[in-house]
């Protein structure tokens, strides 16, 4: 049967015009291009301190020599955008003689936020860097790297004599949100184990007034 048919087969032109197909595809591509987000959002973990009073009293006494506070400030323009962002910091708890705010900015320099944090977190960073070298050479896997870093961080936070930064991030109401996130991000970059987001206390306000000559929130 099949052979019979074959012998009688006429030769058709097998070419198909693809133009409508292309048209349709282009439309679909346009649709997908307009409807998609290539930029997927990422997340940054954050743990907030409790605002229940009974728990506040059990505040852990931190070593003042390791404490470092960042005060983020700025102004809000008439469109409701935070501009003129400024970062100040002081070491210790701010009660000792001569405590004052120093201005600092983001960047890679020695006296920028990162340089300072790295300087204060030398011991841990050295360990992390060694692990990083190993990871780069392919001696340890990704998961082992992360696990070892966590272990090192844990060890450091349990060692009460270790020199490590304990960072308090204190944004004022006018601080730029992006700066807060950036500072939180610096904590991750520099493997700072202990940091917290806090409101300004009385001491901070006093220092702020000393530095800027006007009270917090006043202009």
């Amino acid at each position: 049967m099949a052979k019979k048919d074959k012998s009688r087969q006429k030769k058709f032109d097998t070419r198909i015009d693809f133009t409508p197909m292309v048209d349709m595809n282009m439309l679909l591509i346009t649709f997908f291009m307009l409807c998609t987000t290539m930029l997927k959002s990422q997340t940054l973990n954050l743990i907030l301190p409790t605002n229940k009073n009974e728990d506040k009293e059990q505040d852990i006494k931190i070593q003042q020599s390791n404490a470092i506070s960042f005060i983020l400030d700025g102004t809000v323009d008439k469109n409701g955008k935070a501009i003129n962002s400024k970062i100040y910091y002081y070491a210790g708890d701010g009660t000792e003689e001569g405590a004052a705010l120093t201005e600092i900015n983001f960047g890679n320099g020695k006296d920028a936020v990162r340089g300072m944090l790295q300087d204060r977190n030398k011991a841990l960073l050295k360990e992390v860097n060694e692990l990083k070298e190993k990871w780069k050479k392919g001696e340890i896997a990704d998961s082992t790297f992360n696990k070892k870093v966590k272990e090192a961080q844990k060890k450091q936070s349990e060692d009460l004599t270790a020199k490590r930064p304990i960072v308090m991030i204190k944004p004022t109401a006018n601080a730029c949100y992006a700066d807060v996130v950036r500072l939180l991000d610096e904590m991750q970059i520099n493997y700072v184990t202990s940091f917290m987001l806090q409101p300004l206390n009385k001491q901070d306000s006093t220092l702020y007034e000393q530095k800027l000559g006007h009270a917090l929130g006043a202009k």
Binding site: C35, K40, N45, N51
Partner: protein, 235 residues
């Protein structure tokens, strides 16, 4: 004089190759695309080096607009029928509205169709007093309303113990998760279940008030939505 001869060439171009390319591109876009969420405001999240992805299910997103308006977006579980989007939203709505009615007995009851409508909505955020009205609106009116008069009231109440509406919603979410899906509840408390999305130019006070509300509801563990920034140094 001989006539100038115009050579007749075929104007038909072979589109097969073109078609191949477009199909490839189409496949690429279809596979990589995640659809834009319909949100009442578009915000640009601040850059950070953290590369943890946003969960695409079992997630509560708090959207803070540049004007300080707060919206919520509830996403249930994708795979199980235990806590689907619709079920999650319906339960949260019922729980929150019941709590609201305790302090406002004259508020109208929710109808079945309103509840059903609500379960289909991604991002919501209107004051409770407008909620039933809002759910009865047409789709385009609803979006308009969200933009113009939306935002969940979030001012911390001075009166001790009284919840503001945002806290009512948070509490409803917590209650529903606790009763229906303990695993998801621990997920929420553990910090993987709730995130704040705010614009990078926003003053911190807008985010601060959201955080204060969360702290009051004992949600101390959360994530901030960021967009990826590439660091020169690498890992």
């Amino acid at each position: 004089m001989g006539k100038v001869k115009i050579k007749k060439t075929s104007t038909i171009i072979d589109m097969t190759a073109m078609s191949d390319v477009t199909v490839l591109l189409l496949t690429f876009f279809m596979l990589t695309s995640t659809f834009l969420q319909k949100e009442p405001v578009q915000v640009i999240t601040p850059p950070a080096t953290s590369d943890a992805p946003v969960p695409d299910q079992k997630f509560v997103q708090v959207l803070v607009s540049p004007e300080g308006k707060v919206y919520l977006n509830l996403t249930g579980a994708k795979d199980s029928t235990l806590l689907s989007n619709e079920f999650f939203r319906t339960e949260v709505l019922k729980s929150a509205y019941d709590e609201y009615k305790k302090s406002h007995p004259s508020a109208p009851d929710l109808t079945v169709s309103q509840t059903k409508e609500f379960s289909k909505i991604g991002t919501f955020g209107v004051p409770m007093k407008d909620l039933t009205k809002w759910l009865d609106m047409r789709l385009d009116q609803r979006d308009e309303f969200l933009k113009e008069k939306g935002g969940i009231p979030i001012q911390m109440s001075v009166k001790d113990g009284a919840r503001n509406e945002f806290q009512i919603w948070l509490n409803a979410i917590k209650t529903v998760l606790y009763n229906k899906d303990p695993e998801l509840f621990s997920n929420l408390i553990g910090g993987d279940g709730i995130g704040i999305k705010a614009g990078q130019d926003s003053p911190f006070s807008l985010v601060d008030v959201v955080m204060d509300n969360m702290k009051t509801e004992e949600i101390n563990n959360l994530v901030l939505m960021t967009s990826l920034k590439i660091e020169e140094e690498g890992k």
